[in-house]
């Protein structure tokens, strides 16, 4: 699969990557912290929106690194980074509990994700010998986004970022595995789905928003296990966000396509 990416290496786009990075980190962390103060009804929705922001950031980071022609490696780097995300999210809340500072959990998780992401990227570039200049930065970014997405969705399911609650409601029930694979898909799918010489950053980000809101809708269903009505709001907000972003993606695709047809054969180009 060598169709991936634009010919000029690093993918430029209409939306500044630094802005997306700030949106992902600040927005993601802020939403997780805010959800702790907003109670059982509004809190989960805010946490889930934090995950959506993190996923959009991660999808942009995947787009930048994969533009160097990763091809079939797009799902692979997603898989790898999400595993870092799961490990660091759980390590972060555990460390915060050991240090008796529950409030530090999300930040600690992010820091651990950055450290593990950096080590993996250094192994990939220095030992394995992958020649991708932005590998270090992008792996760190994807791992960070993965960690925040997993953390925020877990918070949305149980309604707090307390270690015991997350271990009981997310790990023991096996939902952590579903979050892992669902966030992998949500982060790596947008670029993997849109790649090609005519890939466009804005269209890819619309796809990222749609996959993120779709995951949020599923998380809404999963959070029904903890009772209350918070889950229904997560589900409805996720569904509304998905309809808007999916519609935007389909419209953008129809506009950017060479031609959109409902029947017939392809035009005669050079055959």
């Amino acid at each position: 699969m060598s169709a991936g990416g634009s010919a000029d290496g690093a993918a430029a786009g209409a939306v500044n990557s630094t802005h997306l990075l700030i949106m992902g980190i600040v927005g993601g962390l802020l939403c997780i912290y805010l959800s702790g103060f907003l109670g059982d009804i509004v809190g989960p929705v805010i946490a889930a929106i934090g995950a959506v922001l993190a996923i959009v950031w991660g999808a942009d980071a995947i787009r930048r690194v994969a533009s160097y022609g990763l091809g079939t490696g797009v799902p692979s780097i997603g898989y790898m980074s999400l595993s870092v995300g799961v490990i660091s999210a759980l390590a972060g809340i555990s460390l915060a509990t050991i240090l008796n500072m529950t409030i530090a959990g999300p930040v600690l998780a992010l820091v651990i994700a950055i450290i593990i992401g950096a080590i993996i990227a250094l192994i990939a570039t220095k030992i394995v010998g992958m020649k991708i200049p932005i590998m270090l930065q992008c792996t760190i970014e994807i791992a960070g986004a993965a960690c925040l997405a997993i953390f925020a969705f877990s918070t949305a399911i149980v309604g707090s970022y307390d270690m015991l609650a997350i271990y009981e409601g997310v790990v023991a029930t096996g939902f952590i595995a579903v979050l892992f694979i669902m966030c992998t898909m949500a982060i790596q799918h947008p670029f993997n789905a849109c790649l090609g010489p005519n890939e466009d950053q804005v269209r890819t980000l619309k796809c990222a928003a749609s996959t993120a809101f779709l995951s949020m809708t599923i998380v809404g269903m999963l959070s029904s296990i903890t009772g209350g009505f918070g889950w229904a709001i997560v589900l409805v907000v996720g569904l509304i966000g998905w309809v808007i972003s999916f519609r935007a993606f389909v419209q953008a695709s129809c506009n950017d396509a060479a031609s959109t047809r409902w029947a017939g054969l392809w035009p005669n180009v050079d055959e």
Binding site: M1, G78, I181, A193, L195, L214
Partner: protein, 297 residues
């Protein structure tokens, strides 16, 4: 040995066979995974087409998602209403239905995204191709998710006098078996005719070397070749073979420990693996002696 558990293990193998066959056929309709995933290169090679390009990741991740989501929804419903007799079957069906919706959405985004990503080569976005293939894709996906969550559920409940076959919760098991099935569908299914159909103008058995990737056949005996032609071609051998392979994997994962106990089961498992290695070796030596190495013209 508990005969009831053995019967359930046999049932799991049979269900897994159906799920595996459906999974491979689904991936053949969607031109997913290598080697039949090179559809996206076709416009660059000058072949505009009416095929589906469902690049929703590789099959392992994709089936991890569909089966994981189905398992999680079923788990919630069972934990809420599981005491009603027979309800778990309905819960698993509801879970598989939700997963089918997710599957449909990812199919639409990946097909549209990949086709539009090739727009400079004048590849049209055929909406009728998408709508007519979506039903078969989602239908096969539903059968697969239902089968996988079904066997995962059977692993988590006590059967007869025995303890459950596995201690993991349902969503985790469903995701793991989904990934396992995706990997098997990708490795076993793809080499049986998905690519042979799309690359039928090249000599049989030649594989898809990089030089011919994207050089697919786009015309059928009547009109344009489409993804339904590929799946009809694969339904005879590719799908059933994948199902048979996955069914055996599921069956042999539990049969040895159920019949011979834990330690005896480990020994029998090692013997089975050694026998399979010998059989594979014999088969390959036979094929190489009979047909010789692949020669480029």
């Amino acid at each position: 040995m508990d005969p009831v558990t053995l019967g359930v293990v046999a049932l799991m193998g049979a269900v897994a066979t159906i799920g595996g066959a459906a999974e491979d056929l689904e991936s053949d309709i969607g031109s997913q995974s290598n080697p039949n995933s090179q559809v996206q290169l076709a416009p660059q090679m000058g072949h505009l087409h009416r095929m589906i390009n469902k690049a929703a990741s590789g099959e392992p991740v994709a089936y991890g998602v569909w089966c994981g989501v189905a398992g999680a929804i079923a788990y919630i419903l069972i934990s809420l209403l599981g005491i009603i007799p027979g309800f778990p079957v309905i819960a698993i069906a509801i879970g598989a239905a939700v997963a089918a919706c997710v599957h449909a959405i990812y199919t639409v985004t990946s097909h549209m995204g990949r086709i539009v990503g090739q727009s400079q080569f004048e590849q049209p976005l055929f909406m009728d191709v998408l709508t007519q293939s979506l039903g078969p894709i989602v239908g096969h996906g539903f059968i697969t998710s239902f089968c996988i969550v079904g066997i995962s559920y059977l692993m988590t409940i006590p059967i007869g006098w025995s303890d459950p076959l596995h201690v993991f919760p349902l969503p985790l098991l469903a995701m793991l078996w989904g990934i396992a099935l995706g990997a098997i569908g990708s490795s076993t299914g793809d080499v049986h005719y998905g690519a042979e159909s799309e690359y039928q103008k090249f000599e049989f058995g030649g594989g898809t070397p990089v030089a011919i990737q994207g050089d697919i056949v786009t015309k059928a005996p009547l009109g344009a070749k489409n993804s339904m032609d590929v799946v009809n071609f694969c339904a005879k051998f590719g799908g059933p073979l994948t199902g048979f392979c996955f069914g055996l994997v599921v069956f042999f994962s539990f049969w040895n420990t159920v019949v011979f106990g834990i330690y005896g089961g480990i020994v029998v498992g090692i013997i089975i693996v050694i026998l399979l290695i010998i059989m594979n070796d014999r088969l390959e030596v036979f094929a190489r002696n009979k047909y010789g190495p692949y020669e480029e013209e």
